[in-house]
């Protein structure tokens, strides 16, 4: 079952869901959220006068790691914000979800927007920020509108705005609507974009915690990261850590796409075996065999299916297996898929979305795409494979932001694990996997 048509059984997200617990697609309003225990964490902070530093310590203890892609420890990031800063500080939520395969923030925002608002208010209080923005991906206009509605509800109820819950803390939160640029998911490009400019990443350092939005100290976190915070405050960092594994606290929403029977979002404890996650998604579509998996969004290395079947879904296990958990977007490919063609589409994406600022990325992504395209269309040369790897090596690490690395990683990992398919394409000018899946997809549908 999918979450496209509410109401749905809240169990679609899985029995261990915390962020999406009890969420059925229709119960997104403030009253529903309160009935599920919403805003209790915020009330607890003010009733028990929990100090900002104690909150940050609790988040550190939880081992919550950023859900946007890099997996940076959230508590540590929060502690980088200057304590005694005379001017404005900002918190920013990154809902510019555009990493191919990732569609979890959309479900969080449309079906449980208040959990993000509550998490942001708590974060703002912990870091001493009084203004915040939620940057929402351009293509999901209805989600942006709903978030605006949720903001209005929270303001009217005193959870947001001046003197929250009658106390001394004030926090103004606004939604900012993107307009179609993958690069704005990169946090400094996102800040440029809020400033009304082209979304081109900034040189770092300085990092946003010292020079962020409008040059002021700023912390950017992913939607799902903020959404995890109220639970941590209510139940404690240790309990959150216990949901997952050491150094990998909590639950994580995995967006399952590709050749699985039931694509969708599944929220599981970190450390859940991939095989169990695949089963939640109904197993392989049409009962076909698994060939390859990109476990963390298109920018992360692809792994052979057999490797994934033995891997657990947490940051450290996936890293040990040779990839990264990234944004938690799991793209599954079955035995009928041509790896050259899959890579060609990804390479086209990075070529399209390079912001053009750094030469290695602007030029290199074009070279990569054209070379993979050449191989796919039967015009490849034997030396192309080594050239692809060397061009990739010359992009990675030589650009202002990680988009260059993101373009290089798929190329290198696809060739590493499926070199014989590329070689076959070059030698025989056609695919090794006879059928391209179209006819079989139809049969399965």
């Amino acid at each position: 079952m999918n979450t496209a048509h509410p109401p749905f059984d809240p169990l679609v997200f899985g029995p261990d869901a915390q962020i999406m617990k009890g969420v059925d697609g229709l119960n997104w309003r403030l009253a529903d959220y309160e009935a599920r225990g919403g805003y209790r964490a915020l009330k607890k902070i003010f009733a028990e006068k929990i100090a900002p530093d104690a909150l940050i310590a609790e988040v550190k203890k939880s081992a919550l790691r950023g859900r946007g892609g890099a997996g940076f420890p959230t508590g540590l990031k929060w502690s980088f914000m200057p304590r005694q800063f005379p001017g404005q500080k900002y918190v920013v939520c990154n809902s510019d979800e555009g990493e191919p395969g990732t569609f979890k923030d959309r479900d969080i925002l449309r079906y449980n927007p208040h959990v993000v608002i509550e998490g942001m208010v708590i974060g703002a209080y912990a870091m001493g920020a009084t203004v915040g923005y939620n940057y929402i991906h351009g293509e999901i206009w209805d989600v942006y509108e709903r978030f605006e509605e949720a903001l209005a509800e929270a303001r009217a109820a005193g959870y947001l705005g001046d003197r929250i819950l009658g106390g001394d803390f004030s926090f103004q939160l606004h939604a900012h609507h993107g307009y179609g640029a993958y690069i704005c998911g990169e946090e400094t490009a996102l800040l440029e974009s809020i400033e009304g400019k082209k979304g081109q990443p900034r040189f770092k350092p300085p990092f946003p915690a010292s020079f962020g939005l409008y040059g002021k100290p700023t912390t950017v976190n992913n939607t799902e990261t903020f959404a995890a915070v109220p639970w941590i405050v209510l139940n404690g960092g240790a309990a959150y850590l216990d949901l997952g594994r050491p150094n990998n606290g909590g639950t994580k929403i995995f967006s399952m796409s590709g050749d699985v029977a039931r694509p969708g979002n599944y929220e599981v404890r970190l450390g859940t075996p991939f095989a169990a996650l695949l089963e939640m998604a109904g197993g392989m579509r049409g009962g076909r065999r698994i060939k390859a998996v990109i476990p963390g969004g298109s920018s992360m290395p692809v792994l052979p299916g057999e490797v994934m079947m033995k891997t657990d879904m947490d940051y450290d296990s996936i890293a040990k297996a040779g990839s990264m958990l990234g944004s938690g977007a799991v793209i599954v490919m079955d035995e009928t898929r041509c790896m050259v063609r899959c890579l060609e589409r990804l390479s086209y994406f990075y070529f399209e979305e390079s912001c053009g600022q750094c030469t290695p990325c602007r030029e290199g992504t074009g070279w990569l795409y054209r070379m993979v395209h050449r191989i796919e269309t039967g015009r490849g040369r034997t030396e192309d494979l080594d050239t692809l790897v060397s061009v990739s090596d010359n992009i990675a690490g030589r650009t202002i932001c990680a988009l260059g690395d993101a373009a290089a990683i798929p190329v290198k990992s696809f060739i590493q694990h499926f070199r014989e398919e590329f070689a076959h394409h070059i030698e025989h000018k056609r695919c090794m996997v006879g059928e391209r899946g179209a006819a079989r997809d139809k049969a399965a549908a």
Binding site: G101, A181, S298, A438, D441
Partner: protein
């Protein structure tokens, strides 16, 4: 150049940002302008620049950087279909081919009657609903099988 309601929406955006940062509202202002005019002509971008106190070239830069702004005229309905890998694994290529065949246009083409413009999109963050299509930047259509596409096209007059 922009209706009173449109100006009200731009003003609401301006109010979200610090008083001296009117430029932060440029994305909303251009979106409103495009909704009212169908595409962003130089005149309308110049108006936005004047309204926000920005150099016109800074507005042009923003308009050409973000993929959902149209600097050229489009058909009454701009149909953008995501063909990125996760969607392609769930029928997006077939959806795109069906659209091209039915409309008789390639990507970036407009039907002779001016009704449809077809575009290729990158990940909308909705891959679980693949194939997905975005209509005039605002309406997301999910599970676009050839039959669902035919129904949708019939509905868009």
């Amino acid at each position: 150049m922009i209706s009173a309601q449109g100006i009200a929406r731009i003003d609401a955006a301006i109010a979200k940002y610090p008083a001296q940062e009117r430029q932060s509202a440029v994305m909303t202002a251009l979106a409103v302008a495009q909704e009212e005019h169908g595409h962003l002509s130089t005149e309308v971008m110049d108006f936005v620049a004047g309204y926000l106190g920005m150099p016109p070239v800074a507005v042009y830069e923003v308009a050409s950087f973000y993929g959902m702004y149209d600097l050229e005229k489009t058909g009454r309905y701009k149909l953008c279909v995501c063909t990125n890998l996760p969607c392609a694994l769930s029928g997006a290529v077939e959806a795109a081919e069906h659209l091209k065949r039915t409309l008789g246009v390639e990507f970036n083409g407009t039907t002779p009657d001016g009704r449809f413009t077809l575009k290729e999109g990158e990940c909308f963050g909705a891959c679980g609903d693949a194939p997905v299509m975005l209509i005039n930047n605002k309406r997301m259509a999910s599970f676009m099988s050839p039959e669902a596409i035919d129904r949708l096209l019939a509905e868009l007059k």
